[in-house]
Symmetry: C2
Subunit: 404 residues, 2 copies
């Protein structure tokens, strides 16, 4: 069987039909610009990419279009034997520490978390509702971006703010990209033929959004994103860490309101805010052309990353592996080299030749280094598909028992 993985954003729907055993994507596609006058649908199957432009009024229509692509271009879903539909949900609050099979009560609970993720959870809920209507005869599973980090210790997830306020408004570190961090930490162990329980790993998920985690024996001990995905590393368009006093200062001196500050830090900051571009390939071209702003953006990005590597090394005591993943982490040779430069004192180094090679999972540190530096391509859809299987497996035995 296969699992259909859905990722519903505010104006987009991404889908992938995954074989959770072999791990390959059977087909994948996106519906973008939902609600705009002209939407875009792409569908890739058997090496062929189909692209359509047409109006997509809402998420219901988006999913209907996607299912139509399967019918028209393939593979036919009836033949694909869909075993479950997996939904990526951004915020699971303090409620969800693993995947859950969706029912009406679960939807209510995900909706109750909307204040914690006002941009993301509503779209996720909408996606689940529509999908349950159109694909009613298979189990739907919610997989939360925050779930893995429910394993954080209190010293890591507690902010040093007034406890009453924090408790009343759910203010704590939740962490995001959890599916990726968990997958990568597990994959590291499988690649090395070691038990995840025996490894201390720092995972650097560097995509458009970026986050770091420290994982001891499979259990997270800290992560850089917080109540929201704004905290931590410098990202494509997000600032990551800033003095909270910056917000007070800009509110008073630039007259910016909450929504404007939110947009400033989430959409107009990070690498983009410093250099004017947010794609690391463009940033590299600018740097090579002598652009000083681009160089500064790179330096600030690396400086922050190095601080997190050191911080997590101190939390872990011993670092067995640093694993780079996601768009920048998997592809940017210079970022990996700069993050690990001059860290021989901590047992960390990158071998230039190994680092320059392309490929799948691999080790890029020299043999003498105590810490293995690795590149591990993240496979969030596969990880979600596998978590779906797990959740549905949990579901089946009691069913069988009550039926028998």
């Amino acid at each position: 069987g296969s699992v259909l993985v859905l990722n519903s954003g505010s104006s987009s729907l991404k889908y992938q039909l995954v074989n959770p055993v072999g791990g390959e994507a059977i087909a994948a596609g996106t519906v973008e610009r939902i609600g705009e006058p002209s939407g875009i649908v792409t569908h890739t199957f058997a090496g062929n990419r189909t692209r359509r432009e047409l109006e997509v009024p809402d998420h219901g229509e988006a999913l209907r279009l996607a299912l139509g692509m399967f019918d028209e271009i393939g593979p036919r879903l009836a033949d694909a034997g869909i075993y479950a539909v997996g939904h990526r949900v951004v915020h699971g609050g303090a409620e969800f520490s693993g995947p859950v099979v969706v029912d009406d009560a679960i939807i209510d609970r995900i909706e109750a978390l909307v204040p914690l993720a006002p941009l993301h959870n509503p779209a996720n809920v909408q996606g689940i509702r529509v999908a349950r209507e159109l694909l009613g005869d298979v189990p739907h599973v919610a997989v939360f971006d925050t779930a893995f980090f429910q394993g954080l210790p209190p010293a890591a997830y507690t902010y040093a703010i007034d406890r009453e306020v924090a408790t009343e408004h759910g203010v704590r570190r939740y962490g995001f990209h959890g599916t990726s961090h968990q997958y990568v930490a597990g994959k590291v162990a499988r690649v090395l033929g070691r038990r995840v329980q025996d490894l201390n790993t720092i995972v650097l998920h560097l995509g458009n959004g970026a986050s770091a985690s420290a994982v001891r024996g499979g259990v997270p001990v800290d992560t850089s994103m917080g109540l929201t995905p704004l905290e931590g590393l410098v990202m494509g368009t997000r600032s990551g860490d800033v003095d909270p006093g910056v917000l007070f200062h800009l509110a008073r001196n630039a007259g910016l309101g909450v929504d404007e500050l939110d947009t400033l830090l989430n959409k107009r900051s990070g690498v983009l805010g410093l250099s004017g571009v947010n794609d690391f390939r463009e940033l590299r071209s600018l740097i090579d052309a002598g652009d000083e702003d681009a160089q500064l953006a790179f330096d600030v990005y690396i400086h922050r990353l190095r601080k997190y590597v050191g911080a997590y090394a101190a939390l872990l005591g011993r670092v067995d592996v640093i694993a780079f993943t996601a768009g920048v982490g998997e592809n940017d040779v210079d970022v990996r080299a700069a993050v690990c430069a001059d860290l021989e004192g901590l047992g960390i180094a990158v071998d230039p030749e190994r680092n320059a090679q392309r490929g799948g999972e691999r080790i890029v540190s020299p043999d003498w280094a105590q810490t293995l530096v690795m590149v591990i391509p993240t496979m969030e859809e596969l990880a979600i598909a596998r978590q779906c299987v797990e959740a549905v497996d949990h579901l089946e035995p009691p069913r069988a028992v009550t039926a028998g």
Copy 2:
């Protein structure tokens, strides 16, 4: 000669008459609750402490009272041979990277920085104005809390936010407690008989306010406080680092405005916000009595500190010394032990017996550890006094030249 060091807060004036050569405080005092119905004046000289309660309407009267104490109780300022008056000024912006002899133009420039430190700089300016009136015949020197950190590299002082907004509103890391960090980093070298140029030091200034710095060869490479003294470590009443998204969340869900959020994070957070107390002696009593909130506050405080130690170790590459200073850093044995626990992998450890001993400058790490862990009592007034001498020395030669 001696230097009179003044530290003007919004409702207080602290003063100390210092011998910049021998280093001892000849006399010291405070005027508190300025502007309130009943103020308090204390003056300590030759081992005797005098205390008065009376109304102190403004900073002018506060300084007049302080000068009166010198006349009445001693030492007589005429006999003390005051060489200069040193003023601690909180924010020197990007303008001041060292002490400056005050004239009217300097006062204007300090006033122009009020938007960066709306609570502190106005009081500092007021203190300078009053002192110049009452003590008109000696040079007045401004010593800035931010000055040392003007040596930070751009990758450390640049926030990853929109450059135009940042430039227009002076948003960058300035750092605070600079006089203390500079003094301690220098003192470490003198105590060890080494050159400051050859030492990589992490300074942990842990008082009511708390900050960390990484200093390479006498030059700062990063520090934890930022645009304001709110960022970084967990403090007595300040949160230190939080996801900026926390502010958006509380503005929207708790209906808090900018001033309320400012008060929440600066006055009702930190150790106080988590445990109900902000003095570490009380915190220890609560922990010993089994109070779980107090234990959590301690754990969060230590977790944050350990992250900074690791982060700065990565920036420095090699850490020769970790120096603890200020009220908590100099006195709290448990804090020092917990910060350095389980860091043998980084070459860091504390020897329990050495750590438990009291005294002045001392080493508390075991002989085998690569990194020396030290306790260095901070002497901000002495450091200010010495910077005054330096600034006035700079002043004299040109005077002599133009006069000759």
